[in-house]
């Protein structure tokens, strides 16, 4: 084993009471690849430039996604991390594992790779960091034999992800894990064989709390919601008030549409103006709950770039029942993919494509009627342009 790399700059990142990735990396510094990784990283901090090149021809037979090629541009100096590819492994829905499954993944990874993992990456996948090219097929063979599969990368459908949903959360308005699993299985071809202009992410959140950040991080978000009235147990509201919650200040005044009224004994909600933000439900979990007529809103077009220009998604379908086999949704997805795959530019996300061609044209092409809920913020209307027949004489 080569000598331990000196890392005076990285050492600074170990100081302080917070978690440190340097501290964690150093625990594995006996692994030659990690030792060289620390050396190369130190160099990057000295020179203030990255020394990784990514992309290229690496992958496993038959698949176009799941492996992200990563090479050092200082290969002579840091030979043990000259090839340091990333593998994305499709995580189980809701990120539930048995300890046995975790041990299996860890054992395979220690046998063939650096042993470094990121549980989980921002995509949701299990991330295995640091494999040599020749190790990729053996890792893939062992992972698939153990029941795992690679996730997405490149211009494909990325690994769908979901919140824990009904497995652990009373607010889940549909079975997020079931939907995530179903769509993952349906779109195996799109996941493994990139055929799009760029990535396409599906994320499933059981309620508007959106614990998977789907509104900001997915091209297509399925966010649980309800269309009947919020369920209020006024006994519970009074108990919360007696327990110190200032219902007027903390609930009514913070409702974004001010659709609630509290007279000291009854909490009244004008449900026609409720935008399902979850605020009152989050603060009064024992007294206020989502309605019974539950489903999801479908939003399209988010993009979260590293540097700037984040794009949030917009409502496309205000409410749909989320019931297998999700035929209407799959039909909608296939119409979107057909249009975008054919006319999108390289590296153009679907949200950017919609911005370029205009929402009206996009809706027309995919055969979806505009509805008033297609807005970027409540009580605004940036998309719908009324035709001459509507605006003539200023009369609708």
């Amino acid at each position: 084993m080569s000598e331990k790399r000196a890392t005076p700059l990285l050492d600074e990142l170990e100081k302080g009471p917070w978690p440190s990735f340097v501290k964690e990396l150093k625990k594995s510094a006996d692994t030659p690849a990690v030792n060289d990784l620390l050396g190369q990283l130190e160099r990057s901090y000295e020179e203030k430039i990255g020394h990784w090149k990514h992309g290229g021809l690496v992958g496993v037979m038959g698949y176009g996604g799941g492996v992200i090629g990563r090479y050092s541009d200082l290969q002579a100096e840091f030979p043990e991390c000259a090839e340091f590819h990333t593998l994305r492994i499709n995580q189980p829905a809701g990120w539930f594992y048995t300890s046995d499954a975790l041990r299996t993944i860890a054992d395979i990874w220690e046998r063939h790779g650096s042993g470094l993992t990121n549980m989980h990456g921002s995509t949701g996948d299990i991330i295995l960091l640091g494999a040599k090219t020749q190790a990729l097929e053996p890792i893939f063979a062992e992972l698939t034999a153990a029941g795992f599969d690679l996730g997405g990368s490149g211009s494909d459908m990325r690994t769908p992800s979901c919140c824990v949903g009904q497995a652990r959360c009373e607010w889940a308005c549909y079975d997020t894990m079931g939907a995530c699993y179903d769509f993952t299985q349906t779109y195996q071809d799109e996941l493994h064989r990139p055929a799009f202009p760029y990535k396409y992410k599906l994320k499933f959140a059981g309620c508007p709390n959106d614990c998977v950040a789907s509104v900001a991080r997915s091209d297509m978000a399925f966010i649980g919601t309800w269309r009947d009235d919020i369920k209020v147990d006024n006994e519970g509201v009074r108990a919360a008030a007696a327990g110190g919650v200032d219902i007027q200040k903390e609930i009514c005044d913070m409702c974004p549409t001010r659709c609630m009224a509290w007279d000291g004994s009854t909490l009244a909600i004008d449900n026609s103006n409720c935008v399902k933000c979850m605020h009152c439900i989050n603060v009064l979990p024992k007294a206020v709950k989502p309605g019974d007529d539950r489903g999801a809103a479908i939003l399209i077009g988010a993009k979260a770039p590293i540097v700037g220009g984040a794009l949030l998604s917009s409502v496309f379908v205000p409410f749909i029942k989320m019931e297998p086999p999700y035929e209407d949704l799959k039909e909608l997805i296939s119409r979107i993919w057909d249009l975008w795959a054919e006319h999108g530019k390289n590296r153009e996300r679907v949200g950017e494509f919609i911005q370029r061609i205009g929402l009206g044209n996009f809706l027309e092409q995919i055969g979806l009627d505009p509805v008033p809920e297609m807005i970027s913020a409540p009580r605004s209307n940036p998309y719908i342009f009324f035709g001459d027949e509507v605006s003539e004489g200023g009369q609708a």
Binding site: H54, G55, G56, L57, G59, M61, G62, Y63, G64, G65, I68, G69, S153, G154, S155, D156, D189, R193, P194, A195, F196, P197, Y198, D338, A341, E342, N346, R347
Partner: protein, 78 residues
């Protein structure tokens, strides 16, 4: 009669070979080229999808990533 998966895969392979080093092709570029070559009555997107899968599973083509996913020849055949 519709073209077969094998015929489309072979035509795609030839196109990848001819353009190798000159033009990077994405799955949709191949699909459009095949529909144009065989005609809409003979060839469609689904058939092209199957043909691409065959090219990948047989190892005749591989995917590359250079700011986007492209279909290319394996290094030993390029």
């Amino acid at each position: 009669m519709a073209a077969t998966v094998e015929q489309v895969a072979e035509a795609m392979f030839q196109l990848v070979k001819e353009t190798h080093g000159k033009k990077s092709l994405k799955a949709m570029d191949l699909t459009k080229a095949m529909i144009e070559k065989f005609g809409e009555a003979e060839c469609n997107k689904d058939l092209c999808k199957q043909a691409i899968r065959q090219l990948m599973d047989s190892g005749r083509c591989i995917y590359s990533y250079f700011g986007g996913s492209f279909i290319t020849l394996p290094p030993d055949q390029a």
